[in-house]
Symmetry: C2
Subunit: 260 residues, 2 copies
DNA sequence: CAGTGGTCTAGACCACCAA
DNA sequence: TGGTGGTCTAGACCACTGT
């Protein structure tokens, strides 16, 4: 049934069909944390090569339905965590109640051409950069680079201990009245540094959020955050309203079971 | 340099190294629309199996840097398009100036359990569903399912021609005063229907945006939109502010060239 | 038709983890 | 040490595009 008839229908790729079968099985017969049969066995059971099976698992992992751990197995993933992203809710990078930020380091350096353009300042102007990790339930969910032109923080106290720099910058930022935010969200992958901070291998898909903060008509900060796409759902709630649950998922299917 | 010393360092996977090399080449030596050498030749040039090369290309495609067309070749992708997503800017699904929506169909049916819960209504209650495609520069960029409980539109005129239904629903919606929006963005993949509307193969990564619209304290609509992750960058701008350009990209590298 | 990317196979070896 | 997922190979065939 559907839009494609039986004749002249292009055969659906095996891996896509597999993904659908596995997805139904996951929805109906497995629950969070359970481990699937290993790849070699699943491949044999479905009569395909391991590479083909893995292609199906890759899809499901991208969708956040599976988690694969080397040496352990393939597990059913927990539903994605809704992560609030708004200054009101999570506060200035560090000020919110959730308080789930951990500062990694803080540097002060001249702006590259790229960064200067993004901040609307001249190349080479001094910029403070605070690098941080956002923790949710103790696990790293996002990294963030917060770039602040030195000119936006005229009252920054002089040099202090390395670990104090970040605190000073953030404290000064909180005193500014932010009257405008401009956001963008797109798909990216974690490069070397980010991957380490997120405790994931390089190439892990992430949601990249770029936020410009304006105060008194001037750009005072640029935040570039990368959220783990497999486990995060970015929420821009103004009001809590009603719980949102995914529209979709259905049916049932046998075929996959721990035992044979 | 970094946290891992030279000793005991795990060798970087070939495909990841390849991706880095190719990325540098793309940034420095190619421009939008140019075609790369074909996969078999690139694989030979780098001394790897075609499958390994393809793994690197998969990454770059996920990052929106490459577009692969069967029968044609692998092309350098255009920078992602910034797509404004806010009721003020793009209007009620259909009312904005950009006016880039094309209605696919409109159905009126009892709500499934899932949908009912998301809308905060009882299962089986009547819901209008408008399915549409968002066009940017003439190309389909997103699909959307707009669910509206019939109870939210008391003044909907009676049955009309099929093609008029969607228009009526949208027109009635515009008359409501929306006093709250709650958004969520996460990663997903295009299933059969969506894939067709987006003119992409199934499994294509998409940014799924779920929006709840409230009026007078009640949920009046639920929009589920899927944006092509390869070509779209979702923007939630309040004010235009300054142009945002990606922070990153660099260097140069030879090795890849059309001729040998 | 020749050339391209897309799918699939069968097998090998490696890195990691738990017992 | 045995089992798991991660990487890589060499080759085959298919589906699509242009000429």
């Amino acid at each position: 049934m559907g839009t494609t008839g039986q004749l002249s229908a292009v055969p659906e790729p095996k891996y896509w069909h597999l993904r659908t079968v596995l997805l139904r099985a996951i929805d109906s017969e497995f629950s969070t944390g359970q481990v699937l049969p290993n790849e070699r066995e699943l491949a044999a059971r479905f009569g395909v090569a391991r590479a083909t099976l893995r292609q199906a698992l890759d899809q499901l992992e991208l969708e956040g339905r599976l988690v694969r751990r080397r040496g352990i197995g393939t597990l059913i993933a927990a539903p994605r965590v809704g992560v609030p992203v708004s200054r009101q809710e999570e506060g200035w990078p560090g000020a919110g109640r959730s308080q789930a930020w951990r500062t990694v380091d803080c540097t002060t350096a001249p702006a590259s051409a790229q960064l200067a353009q993004s901040l609307g300042i001249v190349e080479g102007a001094t910029v403070h950069t605070v690098r941080r990790v956002r923790l949710v339930e103790g696990r790293p969910m996002a990294t963030e680079s917060l770039h602040v032109p030195a000119s936006a923080l005229p009252h920054l106290p002089g040099f202090r201990a390395e670990s104090d720099r970040a605190r000073s910058v953030l404290r000064q930022l909180e005193r500014l009245e932010v009257d405008g935010e401009s956001r963008a969200v797109e798909l990216g992958v974690a490069e070397a540094d980010e991957a380490v901070l997120l405790e994931r291998p390089p190439g892990t898909p992430v949601l990249v959020m770029t936020t410009q903060y304006a105060s008194a008509g001037r750009l005072v900060a640029l935040a570039v955050s990368t959220y783990r796409a497999d486990t995060c759902k970015l929420t821009f709630g103004e009001t809590g309203l009603v719980e949102v649950t995914p529209v979709g998922a259905a049916g049932a299917a046998a075929e996959v079971r721990t035992a044979s």
